[in-house]
Symmetry: C2
């Protein structure tokens, strides 16, 4: 039976929703696929549910091909497993927490590593049981601070999450590769361009991680790509550090009054005048050391003030810093933080703690000091002297100051050299559409998932975790496939195969339409039939363009002669075909 | 491709789970269909997910046949709509409530009347849009005080909930009937016996309601049925009240000291001795008026003490009282309640407030007094005198005391007359498997869902609400279809059509098994293939019996001669068939 628009639960809207920031959100609401219920939380209308089912079907097929079995976990889970792994706290405000009537803490799961691990522990005990890959397609919850872009980042969203279990590293590699290959097949079937980029695995506690990023201006991620094939998320990008150099020939550092240096350039100019380098090379902004004061906020609320020194021609990238200090969140230090650390002289903050440093005791602030990888031993710097109105020129790393650690804190810029020597990188905006992780043994160790190996020895299982955002992918497909008139679904996920429109008032039009519909359904096509009697052809065409079924059959004046029009929504081409031939076009 | 047990994610258990109270729970866990995650919260393993998908498919087919369209709402919803209808409070502890990071109140929806109403309000405006029936199959949440019976009463469970929208009462009747008919078809397809019983519609604020109850000893409901065809949930049962009678000829009531009447019978004996009836009929226990003190707890926590008088040969049925006073909860008054009402003399509580009553001012307690429908004007009663050690004999309803209202408070007993005159009823235990409600205009009025009618006048929409517990039905099917060895699935919902078992070590067995599997799959049968090499035939047979696929093919010694055994799990019959013929048995 065709779906008849005369009684289908569908209303297209003339106006864009006022809260829509991106095209997919705007069109999916206007065309009657979804409706907002709360920020980042949507209801699925019949059209949307059909597309979602097709997206899920393709993912299921490829999971089955990858040897994974489907299970389904509850969204509402007890606190304990997440407490054991620390994620109950690490998720911070992003986790929806609640208590049941007995006062037991529960959560709405943002991801399910813990309970998958426990399930396998519950049922498996031998290496013979492995490898195992299991997955679910399930609604997840994350209390995003700012849910934006409709389905692109919801607070309730559907995800395919798979988990692999092996007892050898080689086994994990193979399971990881099988999921990675499945992801490539899935995104290809959806017609989605993607880059596989190195990602930081830290947050999940794992050892290896890659993201599938779809290049798009609405993306929230940025990745780098070199001509030579290096790709990485900017959070995972590694800076090439220069080699350490011998400092014995370098002159001593000196501290100068620098009253009239409001900008880095004026400071550099003063350094070139007052303390020219012995090798004649001029000081530049890249030789200044900008010390930025930040606050690390641990999941338990502990607040630690730190300073990070980066070259003056760079900015600190807070997201990169967060990767380094995860699970802590990072923010700029506020007035209260400075008030507690009087040793920090705003505008003149310098490094400290090297014995015999030119900066002396003024540098004792009692906070940890980190630097960019470019600050290697033997490099010379212009930087604050920890006194108002004074800077140090020619301060040498390793000689005049030491650091607590190196962190990847500077922003990544187009033209930066790829760490593998494959040339300069470009920066590309992208949306994460898939993520594969080698978790390793972290979860299995904490939760006690061990099996007996061939020698009867208990070994800890090694795991992988693999996620695809089902609802996000649907939105990305919509984002990519549309024009000014509306959506243009690829055939693989279109809500219907053919949209048949009866135009005009003659009974022959409706009779012919029924014939066309019957013929199409006999060829196993899913048909949306616009059989509305009191709606103008213009409105019907507009609805068809907005809804975006890839093929439209217009039954109108030609019906009396057995002719209908076949309209390709994507190319806009129209072709006259006979009623007898119409089904054959889709065979 | 067949599912091969050698690598399927399935482990059957030898031991019953310790927390299983009912057969379905015990077998579904042991056979590897579900695993408990928290009280009343389960994960679905691959076998269970397959059965659930088949249950859902049948429900979807019948919803489509009933003209309903599928949508899908989030589980996590904002408080406001539920606040407007009062259900945010009425659900009491049964509602999972939480706050998001901004402090907004949210809930995990126990049912979705509010948001369906708002969705239709959002999109529809004319009578021409109606009728409309929409449904979802979705995970719901209720924080049951005692989740029991595995899937029979979970805290997270899957439900099919449908809602109909009409603008005339006749339209609602038709929509209601269409869903009711669909439910009959659904339960018939599942092979589930059911009784359609009148239910109380009060809790949902509606006008008409019927429950589909499956007769089973594990049921939590009790319903009545008369030989003449009357059926009702005991909560909805209506007592036949005797006609009111003239009291002018009755003697005056009198108060007696009743020191030695510890039981109703001794009290009745004393009445027959002290105050014999003028008509010679003896007093019986049914002539005593037992006044029970209860506390009504409103959703806002308000506690009200009331008294209810029922004939002394009956007990108060708290569930029936709750229906009368919903959404208040009802419990027996405690010592604290009695302490606040010194007029209530325990063991001697009588009615009060009739002008000139024999009980006089001693009866002034200031609480509301209700009675069973049998306490009509002109009936005579033996009851407490509101003084320790004293009872009133021959107190006449209407003459000596009045009441605030009649309530259906007494328990229903086998042999009670059906209210429609169709004879005495029997009492049957049942499990609710479906519920259809005529909500009427309550939700539409509160939430402002109106449409323009044929005359351009705004009219309030009238609604129905129709629910089937998907996961509960799966459990009821399992409850009904099993034996001492395990589950025996009906073909309509079995996880697989055929379970092929290779027994023995000869290669011919495995080669023949592959042939059988291929032939079965070519006939579109879903096959579970036990290809395990190091497992004994006994274990394989035991697993097959536990898992409960309806047909089992045993490939063993006969394989060399091209013979296999076809085993009917339900009847236990085994039949030898040739490999060439085996697929034909399922054609």
């Amino acid at each position: 039976m065709p779906t008849r628009l005369s009684n289908y639960f569908l209303r297209t809207l003339r106006e864009d929703p006022s809260d829509a920031e991106v095209t997919s959100h705007r069109l999916l609401v206007r065309a009657g696929y979804i409706r907002r219920q709360a920020p980042g939380i949507f209801a699925w209308l019949p059209l949307g549910l059909r597309v979602k089912a097709k997206v899920e079907k393709i993912i299921r097929e490829e999971m089955t091909a990858a040897g994974a079995y489907e299970v389904h976990f509850p969204a509402l889970l007890p606190r304990e497993p997440y407490e054991l792994t620390g994620r109950w706290n690490e998720y911070g405000d992003g986790l929806f927490r609640l208590q049941d009537r007995k006062g037991s803490d529960m959560l709405l799961a943002p991801t399910h590593e813990e309970v998958f691990t426990l399930l396998v522990k519950d049922l498996y005990s031998s290496y013979k049981d492995l490898p195992l890959s299991i997955y679910q397609i399930q609604d997840k919850y994350r209390d995003e601070a700012r849910s934006r872009g409709g389905l692109l980042r919801g607070r309730e969203f559907t995800m395919k999450d798979a988990y692999s279990f092996d007892y050898t590293d080689a086994g994990l590699d193979a399971s990881y590769q099988a999921q990675r290959d499945a992801y490539e097949r899935i995104f290809t079937r959806f017609g989605l361009e993607y880059a596989i980029v190195q990602a930081d695995a830290g947050a999940m506690g794992g050892s290896k991680s890659e993201e599938f990023l779809h290049p798009t201006m609405v993306g929230e991620d940025t990745f780098v790509r070199s001509a030579g094939g290096y790709t990485a998320n900017v959070e995972a990008f590694r800076t090439i550090a220069p080699p350490a150099t011998d400092w014995t020939a370098l002159p001593a550092a000196a501290v100068f009054d620098t009253p009239d240096t409001p900008t880095i350039q004026t400071l550099v100019d003063k350094a070139n005048a007052e303390q020219p380098r012995p090798d004649g090379r001029e000081w530049t902004a890249a030789d200044t050391l900008k010390n930025v004061v930040l606050a690390l906020i641990q999941p338990d609320g502990t607040r630690e003030i730190i300073a990070i020194g980066v070259p003056g021609d760079r900015d600190v990238d807070l997201k990169r810093v967060e990767v380094a200090f995860g699970p802590a969140e990072v923010e700029a230090a506020n007035e209260g933080d400075f008030a507690k650390k009087p040793g920090l002289v705003k505008g003149y903050i310098g490094p400290w703690s090297a014995a015999g440093a030119v900066l002396g005791e003024k540098s004792t602030t009692g906070i940890r000091f980190f630097v960019d990888p470019r600050v290697v031993a033997g490099t010379e710097w212009i930087t604050g002297a920890n006194e108002a109105g004074r800077h140090a020129f020619g301060l040498v790393a390793g000689r005049d100051f030491s650091v607590d650690s190196i962190v990847e804190a500077s922003d990544v810029r187009a033209g930066d050299p790829a760490p593998d020597g494959s040339g300069p990188v470009e920066l590309i905006r992208g949306m994460e559409i898939g993520h594969v992780f080698q978790l390793g043994r972290k979860y299995a160790e904490i939760l006690g998932l061990k099996v007996l190996d061939e020698n009867g020895k208990l070994v800890t299982v090694t795991m992988g975790s693999y996620g695809i955002g089902v609802t996000r992918i649907l939105a990305v497909i919509a984002e990519l496939n549309n024009d000014a008139k509306g959506l243009i679904w690829p055939e693989a996920v279109a809500p219907f195969d053919v949209h048949v429109i009866a135009t005009g008032r003659d009974e022959i039009v409706f009779e012919t339409s029924e014939l066309v519909v019957t013929a199409l359904e006999a060829s196993n096509r899913e048909v949306l039939y616009d059989d509305r009697r009191k709606v103008s052809p213009g409105v019907k065409f507009g609805d068809a363009e907005l809804i975006g079924v890839p093929w439209i059959v217009i039954v109108g004046r030609g019906a009396a002669d057995g002719i209908v029009e076949l309209w390709n929504r994507s190319t806009g081409e129209r072709e006259q075909v006979t009623v007898a031939d119409v089904a054959a076009h889709f065979a």
